[in-house]
Symmetry: C2
Subunit: 202 residues, 2 copies
Amino acid sequence: MLTLYDNLSSGNGYKVRLTLHQLAIPYTRIELDIDKRETRTPKFLAKNPNGRIPTLELDDGSYLPESNAIIFYLADATALLPSDRLARAQVLQWMFFEQYSHEPNVATSRYWLTHGFEITPERQTMLETKKKAGQDALAVMEQHLQRQSFFVGERYSIADIALYAYTHVAEEGGFALAPYSAIRAWLARVAQQPRHIPITQG
Amino acid sequence: MLTLYDNLSSGNGYKVRLTLHQLAIPYTRIELDIDKRETRTPKFLAKNPNGRIPTLELDDGSYLPESNAIIFYLADATALLPSDRLARAQVLQWMFFEQYSHEPNVATSRYWLTHGFEITPERQTMLETKKKAGQDALAVMEQHLQRQSFFVGERYSIADIALYAYTHVAEEGGFALAPYSAIRAWLARVAQQPRHIPITQG
């Protein structure tokens, strides 16, 4: 049985939980407290030297970190990942966009604002920079979704799962979604997929 | 023929040039001046709404952005990308690590220091934060390379290309590589691969 090292508040963890649930793959979940640095203990660093959840323990005892690599692994040869070479690269294109242009802005702002961080003047300046960059990322998504129902090939895939995870809770990071009507319609389509679960479900 | 929208100083662009050269794929290269915001013109935004190089124009006229998605596409079904499901996910694991934990620290510091940015007190504070996070990423790589010759499966792959691009010029970003002997030995192994080209070669 697969074991997922996870934190319920994490959108990166949620990507993996949602993919596992939609593929009906059973797993054991181990909750780690990020704020108490439980991902930086020697015991956990032996599993993932980068000290981050989610990390998936496979049946052979090996460990796979990085949320988007994990869901690519899980979705391989399923309906959640296209088999066409270009479509598969486009799925990855949006997943790298998510980790580079979206997550460090939208997710980090949410983390600071919901985990009791003191908003120092320095952090306030960084929040403003992240607000601008996060809005730029949302604008790129909005423009794409004005022409497409899902991110790649008009079909729900792990590209949608990767971008849904932090977009659907973007308001917790101070990002109003009201101006993004195509994103809001897409969020509703994703939530209507079979076997959808909320971020709060372990 | 493929067309690569590129900038010679970019490590992200270099990943694609190196992969194309090692796979002996002919291409046309179009140089864009990032400092003059040539990636943010309406004409270029029509190709990549996220306004970044590298972006690859395919034979069918479609555009593929995101350096790591591009090299995954190019390397598919070649010796540069393992066919085994887990090894392929591990290649992606290191490529997502590169874009999230390495590039925003090591590459951004190099960009500020080599493109004539004024180092304001605010930017100095950010450089110090990036120094610490970049050193953490290099330490994760060093630990891995103390046990392995290449990042995945003891074989040179696009995971090595992705991490080589900004690591081999890390000193331009203020990161001394002297303490990382396993990384330095790996840099030499990568540079010895057949059909290797330097970052300066278009």
